[in-house]
């Protein structure tokens, strides 16, 4: 985010850090002009430029940041976007299980996720990728097809494996981030501070699941499509040049709701809950079904599991 663009002069908005900005009121006016002109063209306000890593902010600073973001979103989308900052619930470690014997590959989850999480629509960024595989081969990435598009699913002899962020207990993406812009929260959700991300994409290279996605261009999110119920670490609108990924719908799940993909799945293949609660659905799956972790040999230790419900 902190690219040279921040100091590129544009009409009526001279660079706030320029040599010639001696006088106070001029600087003030310049900053204000930059602030109003900012979001759409990939430029930063002074406040945004000076903002620290989310984890280092005091409570008051967080509130100021949120206030600023909400104002920016209002200007950009003409809508009241609420940016929450709900912390992890105590005693909760989120887990997910996906039933490979039921998923039919209809991609309802993929598109519900895009809607819920304010992804760019064109080109569309999708956090869930559904792989079509052959029953004869089993889970084998060599024969996986992600662009399948028959008239109807499931296709004879095939099964479907949706892949999204596995919320690893030992996330390589976090380990490689040179600036600490991504980390694991107490409830197990791996999040990104989009304002701190420098867009180096190391995490994308490190993630063995292809779960991270990059905003190569200015995200194209029409105002009418904006989901206004957002979280700072989750689905708030992003800018060009930052990485994003599935957050288990942090804006929903920290309020006790199921994720958007669980809600929409017509086959009920998606199970979600608290791994620390013995009575939860997710624990029932782990204790009673045949479960596996994807690419277990890499020791990423996902909190996302695949199982066979039959």
């Amino acid at each position: 985010m902190m690219d040279q663009d921040a100091c590129q002069p544009s009409p009526g908005a001279p660079c706030p850090s320029g040599e010639n900005n001696g006088r106070r009121e001029f600087l003030g006016a310049a900053v204000a002009a930059v602030a109003t002109a900012l979001t759409g063209c990939g430029k930063l306000s002074k406040e945004e430029f000076l903002q620290h890593n989310f984890r280092e902010l005091s409570k008051e600073e967080v509130l100021t940041v949120i206030e600023r973001l909400e104002k920016e979103y209002k200007e950009k989308y003409g809508k009241d976007v609420k940016v929450a900052n709900t912390p992890a619930l105590p005693g909760v470690m989120f887990g997910y299980a996906l039933d490979l014997s039921r998923c039919i590959g209809c991609r309802r989850c993929v598109h519900a996720c895009v809607k819920e999480n304010n992804q760019s629509r064109d080109p569309e960024i999708q956090w869930i990728r559904v792989l079509e595989m052959e029953k004869e081969e089993g889970v084998n990435l060599q024969v996986a097809e992600q662009y399948y598009n028959p008239a109807e699913v499931p296709r004879e002899g095939h099964f479907y494996m949706p892949v999204q962020c596995q919320q690893c207990k030992k996330p390589p993406c976090v380990k490689v981030c040179p600036v600490g812009a991504t980390w694991k929260e107490k409830d197990g959700i791996v999040v990104v501070d989009y304002n701190w991300c420098i867009g180096c994409r190391y995490c994308m290279a490190a993630c063995p699941y292809g779960a991270r996605h990059f905003n190569w261009g200015e995200p194209n999110l029409p105002s009418k499509d904006v989901n206004t119920d957002t979280h700072y670490l989750g689905n708030r609108p992003r800018a060009k040049g930052v990485v994003e990924k599935c957050t288990f719908c942090v804006q929903r799940t920290r309020k006790g709701l199921y994720t958007a993909c669980v809600e929409v799945c017509p086959t009920g293949s998606r199970k979600f809950g608290n791994l620390l609660d013995k009575e939860s659905e997710i624990r029932y799956v782990l204790e009673n079904k045949r479960v596996f972790k994807f690419k277990e040999e890499l020791n990423t230790q996902p909190n996302f599991f695949y199982f066979y419900g039959v």
Partner: protein, 190 residues
């Protein structure tokens, strides 16, 4: 005085509790019920009404025992309900194995016990016991709502047409764009 007070309060409390139980389930209750789930999924969850074809229920509108004596001979229906083709063990099963000939607005179990259409999962569970067990704990089928609170279930028949239960194929939603289809334009992807 205390007695009077108690008399006043008790029904009020009971009403409150009932209203509460009927609308939502707290996490505590959920846990309690989940343990005892094999008996009673009923108040743990909200289940929507069965998906009847329009205007068909109550069945007794037409199947009035006074005007229409039930014909219990096993046969292929020719006059009515011809839209139904049974793909659910047709060799061993026909209408009155599940629908009750004498209580038309109900179903019945193999032992003759009547079951309402709202709890038809009991009927399905006679054969599909493993599915019923998983459904009660929220593993088979779809649950929506709150992972730590009130949830909505669906009946078996919301996803599986009881006369032809195989889950219907769907048209998949669009696949992701191939990288080569994404063009650079004005310094941004397009």
């Amino acid at each position: 005085m205390t007695r009077l007070l108690r008399l006043c309060i008790l029904p009020w409390m009971a009403a409150c509790l009932l209203a509460f139980a009927a609308t939502a389930v707290t996490a505590e209750e959920h846990k309690k019920h989940a343990a005892a789930a094999v008996e009673a999924p009923k108040d743990l969850v909200q289940v929507p009404k069965p998906p009847f074809s329009e205007g068909i229920f109550p069945c007794s509108q037409c199947h009035d025992p006074k005007s229409m004596a039930p014909n219990t001979t096993r046969r292929v229906l020719k006059d009515m309900h011809t839209d139904i083709s049974l793909h659910h063990g047709p060799d061993t099963r026909w209408c009155l194995d599940c629908h009750d000939a004498y209580n038309r607005d109900n179903l019945h179990l193999a032992n003759g016990k009547l079951v309402s259409f709202n709890t038809s999962y009991q009927l399905c569970g006679q054969c599909h016991g493993d599915k019923l067990r998983d459904w009660r704990v929220g593993i088979h089928g779809k649950r929506t709502g709150s992972w730590n609170g009130a949830k909505q279930y669906l009946l078996c028949v919301h996803c599986h047409n009881p006369h032809s239960p195989h889950f219907k194929s769907l048209k998949p939603m669009p696949p992701p764009a191939r990288p080569e289809a994404i063009q650079l334009k004005n310094g941004g992807a397009k």
